[in-house]
């Protein structure tokens, strides 16, 4: 293989190109060549992509975050409760939800950084806990604009404008707002990981934690930061999810953590930590998104789709690992 292929970005591009090639071949009578197909895929992958942004930092620092799906669900419920039931204006409801997500991430990060609980265990606990909390504050019900009154009647409250705004499409319906939010998340992570000292510290900790510690790097503070940011991105994703569904579903985001991890890994970020980047995660999100889309426009049944996705994820990762 040529030397360019050793660069992880080139390999992630190659994986994406391969999937796109599949799309060209199995284009479902030209459906693949319509912009609508693409913009729809971008919208569908955006929530997963936002989760994958935080996940990228956590994985680079040498950890894993299994709690992202549950924190998303909790955030969606909380945001709906505040914006619909409590009638909070968006400038209060959004920061409150973001704060809650960040606190969840920080709690898991604190267990990991301070008490040396394994990331898998700490975030697994957070995954269960946050799901429970989401069900508790919602009473197990979807929080929507339909409200049951004390006498058993149902009443409809108007959808808060912020839901419509976040769930909308801009540029004449060509680009979803959530996709824009996803791209902004990517930008934020890119700045943190490549432009700030924090990012360098994260790579160093993931690459060799003991060497980082002996180099005077505040290891536990950086871990808190990574997991806290991951929680924050979960809240962003949860708000987007609620806006798209016009409700806060306590069951939202179940198994999303696995998709988020798959996106990061398919991009080529190493699960061992210390190697990878947010650009790779963007490519990974596109790869997974297109894969799903191509299978669905070709009307591949769900059973076959899941099996094929599993096979292709392994294939893509092996393909990336190929050397010389």
């Amino acid at each position: 293989m040529k030397s360019w292929f050793r660069h992880p970005f080139a390999r992630a591009m190659a994986a994406l190109a391969l999937v796109l090639l599949l799309g060209f071949i199995f284009n479902a009578d030209g459906a693949f060549f319509k912009w609508g197909t693409h913009s729809d895929m971008y919208r569908a992958i955006s929530v997963y992509g936002i989760l994958a942004c935080g996940m990228t930092m956590v994985i680079i620092i040498g950890g894993i975050d299994l709690g992202v799906g549950s924190i998303l669900g909790l955030s969606a419920v909380l945001f709906s409760l505040l914006a619909i039931r409590q009638g909070w204006p968006p400038w209060m409801a959004i920061p409150a939800t973001l704060m809650a997500g960040a606190v969840c991430g920080l709690a898991a990060g604190g267990l990991i950084a301070r008490f040396r609980v394994q990331p898998f265990i700490a975030t697994l606990a957070m995954m269960v806990f946050a799901r429970g909390l989401a069900k508790w504050i919602s009473g197990g019900q979807k929080i929507s604009t339909v409200i049951q009154k004390a006498n058993g009647d149902f009443m409809n409250v108007p959808v808060p404008a912020v839901f419509d705004q976040l769930g909308a499409k801009i540029l004449h319906g060509n680009l979803a707002v959530v996709t824009v939010i996803f791209l902004i998340s990517i930008m934020v992570c890119w700045i943190i990981l490549t432009k700030l000292r924090w990012g360098r510290f994260m790579y160093a900790i993931g690459g060799n934690e003991e060497a980082a510690r002996l180099s005077g790097i505040p290891v536990w503070a950086m871990k808190l930061l990574a997991y806290g940011l991951s929680g924050l991105f979960c809240a962003v994703a949860g708000i987007c999810q609620a806006a798209q569904e016009l409700q806060g579903d306590p069951e939202a985001g179940v198994s999303y953590e696995l998709t988020a991890i798959a996106i990061v890994v398919i991009g080529g970020t190493s699960l061992a930590g210390g190697r990878g980047g947010i650009g790779l995660t963007l490519l990974g999100a596109l790869t997974i998104g297109y894969l799903e889309k191509i299978l669905s426009i070709n009307a591949v049944g769900e059973a076959a789709r899941l099996m094929l996705t599993g096979v292709i994820i392994v294939g893509a990762v092996l393909f990336q690992r190929m050397r010389k």
């Binding site: 700030l196 160093a204 060497a211 510690r213 002996l214 005077g216």
Partner: protein, 517 residues
């Protein structure tokens, strides 16, 4: 040279047919000759000490004997029959067992399961013969005088007992030759005594034991004969009772101190670091407050050498001073007349104390980061005002260090994991120099570094001390210590037991002091 006279003596004849005879053994690694015409012989019922400095070729020779390196020159005879082992398993089946320093037992498995691990006796149909195993294990443990419950997990026992379980494991295969590589390195006095009793028993059973150790006391106590290697060559074999200790030490360290070291012109200035009763941290992280602690002082521009055997406390002292163990130690350290609190690496680096550890892969480098990023890692605040990185000034600083230390890289963006050992070590040094230290703690700075790079590191140390930096140096290479250090402190069991000025220090004096004599 005394060793040449000694060389002309013939090997004292063994009483009977030797168990092992190795002759004309040679081995080359990547073009480097590590063993040249080495011979070795082991008789039944003998404890034969294999001695030599680090890098003398002891472990290579033993790895050849136990099948790890099947590719060598020369001949091995086992009870008179020529053999050539293809793998460790092959050697094991011929009755050669190795007891490593760190016994590889699986802590959660029972003693029996560990003893039979990998070669479990089975009954017809592939069923484990558990009762048979237990009977056999019991028999061997009794034979070794080990009174323990063989069903208990191996992890429940002390290192000493685990080592003996390792020996029991070796004996289940009727091992005739047992290689022990520094078995007492991790044992305390009474534990070592149990091991010595066991060795006496094995001897009485007619088994041959190859014993590797740096401790003079036990060498003379246990050994029947000793073979000394140096720089991959056979120096001599002699019966230990007839071998004066002075002669033995000269065989071990007897290299002429040549001009491989640049001349050292020390100009020590005012006192830089003053350590009074500093408690040594123990490996578990908590402080070991026995004794009065360690007391010494270092002047600006001075190189203070630390000698001592494995486990003497040198490295622990360095880690403790640097704050790598995290506890506060009160006012036992003064730096330039002000109290210095060894609380954390970050604190130490801020105050101008840096530690180069003896394990650059384990905790010195971040292999996945580029050379430039490793160099700037510990001083990154300098290159990121208000948190924003300045890649250009990073590159410039890294390039300056590269030129000053003569680090050979294709590009500063090259991952540091791809560099050679010597260049990696220079990168770690550059990282610490970038923090502008006043005191450099160097723990084995030339470990795994080739001769050329070593020389450059020596010259660098001279240049640094000329600018007033104080260096504390641990090295297990005696010539290096004698050539570089202005003063030498010798540690033994966590205490400083001797101090020598460079003008009076000799390898013999240091070796004696390091063994606690």
């Amino acid at each position: 040279m005394p060793c040449l006279e000694a060389n002309s003596n013939s090997i004292p004849p063994a009483a009977e047919m030797p168990l092992v005879e190795m002759s004309g053994i040679g081995k080359t690694f990547a073009g480097v000759r590590v063993l040249e015409d080495v011979r070795f012989e082991l008789s039944p019922g003998e404890v034969h000490v294999l001695a030599g400095e680090n890098g003398a070729g002891k472990s290579t020779l033993m790895k050849i004997l136990c099948g790890v390196y099947p590719d060598y020159e020369g001949e091995i005879r086992l009870a008179g029959r020529p053999v050539r082992f293809k793998s460790p398993h092959d050697a094991f089946r011929h009755g050669i067992a190795v007891i490593h320093q760190e016994i590889a037992l699986i802590p959660d498995l029972s003693v029996v399961d560990n003893i039979f691990l990998g070669r479990e006796p089975v009954r017809r149909g592939g069923w484990l013969d558990r009762s048979g195993q237990r009977t056999k294990a019991r028999e061997i443990l009794d034979q070794l005088g080990l009174d323990l419950d063989e069903r208990q997990p191996a992890g429940d026992f002390s290192v000493a007992i685990r080592q003996m379980i390792g020996i029991a494991k070796a004996l289940t295969f009727a091992a005739e030759v047992i290689i022990m590589d520094e078995p007492t390195a991790t044992l305390n006095g009474p534990e070592a005594e149990r091991l010595f009793t066991l060795i006496a028993r094995l001897k009485a059973q007619g088994r041959g034991i190859i014993y590797i150790s740096h401790k003079m006391e036990e060498i003379y106590r246990l050994g029947d004969r000793a073979t000394v290697l140096r720089d991959g060559r056979f120096i001599n074999t002699a019966r230990l009772p007839d071998l004066p200790e002075e002669e033995f030490i000269r065989w071990l360290v007897g290299r002429k101190l040549d001009q491989q070291f640049p001349p050292r012109r020390a100009s020590p200035g005012a006192t830089r670091l003053e350590v009074t009763g500093f408690p040594l941290p123990n490996p578990a992280g908590s402080r070991n407050n026995v004794g009065a602690g360690v007391t010494f002082r270092v002047a600006a521009g001075e190189i203070l050498g630390f000698a001592g055997l494995q486990g003497s406390g040198n490295s622990e002292l360095f880690h403790g001073l640097f704050g790598a163990c995290g506890d506060e130690v009160g006012d036992s350290v003064m730096l330039d007349g002000r109290p210095f609190r060894s609380v954390s690496p970050a604190y130490s680096l801020r105050h101008g104390v840096a530690l180069l550890t003896n394990d650059r892969k384990g905790n010195g480098l971040v292999p996945a980061l580029s050379t430039a990023r490793n160099i700037t890692l510990a001083a990154l605040k300098k290159f990121s005002p208000r948190g924003w990185l300045r890649p250009k000034s990073e590159q410039e600083a890294a390039a300056t260090q590269r030129d000053a230390l003569n680090i050979r890289v294709a590009s500063l963006d090259q991952e540091v994991g791809e560099l050679s050992g010597g260049n990696q070590q220079k990168v770690v040094l550059a990282k610490w120099l970038e923090t502008a230290p006043k005191v450099l703690l160097l723990d084995e700075p030339t470990r795994g570094v080739d001769i050329g790079a070593k020389h450059e590191i020596y010259e660098l140390m001279n240049r640094l001390t000329a600018t007033g930096i104080s260096i504390l140096l641990i090295t297990s290479e005696m010539p290096e210590l004698l050539a570089l250090a202005d003063r030498i402190l010798v540690m033994h069991r966590g205490r400083i037991v001797a101090e020598f000025d460079r003008t009076v220090a000799t390898p013999e004096k240091i070796a004696h002091a390091a063994m606690g004599e």
